[in-house]
Subunit: 229 residues, 2 copies
Amino acid sequence: MEHDQSSRTLTEKAYRALRHDIVIGALQPRAKLKLDELCSRYEVGHAPLREALARLVGEFLVVSEGQRGFWVAPLSLEELHSVNRLRTLVEVEALQDSIRLGDEAWERDVRDAFTALASIEQDILHRGAIMDSPHADEWEACNERFHSALIAACGSPTYLNIRATLYRRAERYRRVARKFERDVHEEHVSLFEATIDRNALRACRLTEHHIARRVDGILRHAGEHTDWR
Amino acid sequence: MEHDQSSRTLTEKAYRALRHDIVIGALQPRAKLKLDELCSRYEVGHAPLREALARLVGEFLVVSEGQRGFWVAPLSLEELHSVNRLRTLVEVEALQDSIRLGDEAWERDVRDAFTALASIEQDILHRGAIMDSPHADEWEACNERFHSALIAACGSPTYLNIRATLYRRAERYRRVARKFERDVHEEHVSLFEATIDRNALRACRLTEHHIARRVDGILRHAGEHTDWR
DNA sequence: GGGATATAAAATATCGATTTTTTATTGACT
DNA sequence: AGTCAATAAAAAATCGATATTTTATATCCC
């Protein structure tokens, strides 16, 4: 039996599972992370679990206080804005480089990722635009793949890594607003077209606009119900 | 006996020590981090050491491969440029907000930090501008305090945290170039004055210029001798 | 009754030993 | 000689038990 990179060690298994559950909100913001509870939940011992938690502390998804334990990092309006602002800066810079440097293989990946994303988005729109959990998972995966593909050719692993961590932090907020907006799809179409046309200026403007609109959407649909401080 | 936050747990102790040794280069880029060796070096057991390493993986100072262990993250031209570019973006954004929002207490902190930094820099210039290890430590601490103070009033913990991690990643490169340039001091003076004058536009331009010049300096003094890939 | 103090329970942090995996070494075979 | 396989050594990963610290509870005194 083969094991891929993500299940080679129990630490990695615990890390993936914890990260997933925090990002999708199964473990709620500010929730106390009790070690014994998590050990049985994920079927790992103390050592790998604590390692996974420590790594998530480094990624700002978990907070810890010496001798007092671990908590799921809280959500806040401040973080929502800051993370998406930084994401914008990073994606705009990287997209410029990617459009300049990308070859045919990159273009193909972008097309493939867009096709998959567009297909799911039309599906969701047909169904009435309410995202239940499996649809949200599917859409998030495709959305991540598309945005990741756009900047994949930027030539900077550093940018790609930072973007990935910012994206996950932003996803926690998206998951709260479960309504899918038609605009999102239209924005993806324009962004795709501008990128394939190698119109860097337009693609960057669209990226800025896209992320800003998503923040607005999150505030609109989820703002009143949450206790973000 | 009182213990401050940084020495409450062995994990924290190991984390600080490891981070310090990586940042200053005592543990060289790409060095294999053997667990037993580090355990005796820092006088901690396996568990806290591995936790510290996991956290550093999350901060991009250590890389790990399942079942194969840990290494000090390599240096590269790509990372040097990317990290400093991101730092610029973050510091410029945060500085704008800080200048807009900062009160008298902030202004005092900026003045104090600048005074301390300027005094050390003049000291170093008198001595011939070669930084040995203790001087470099002293200067780095003051430089960090000054740049941190500038943006402290920006109102965004998220920005401050990200800036801190980017700053440490950049410090690894600065530590290689041991010559202190007179320009650095002059740039700090201008940046300080523009900030106190609440001239946000000028302060941001100076920040961009300052960081770009530092990258140039690093490349000039250290570029030929290193094996960055 | 209220507040400080001692005690008990819960949870975290840590260690030392064991298991598993990787890496290095040796020796056989073509 | 060079490749492959088997074996030995090294290192990482994990577990289970213990020590330490924090938090909750109950008790006593004013």
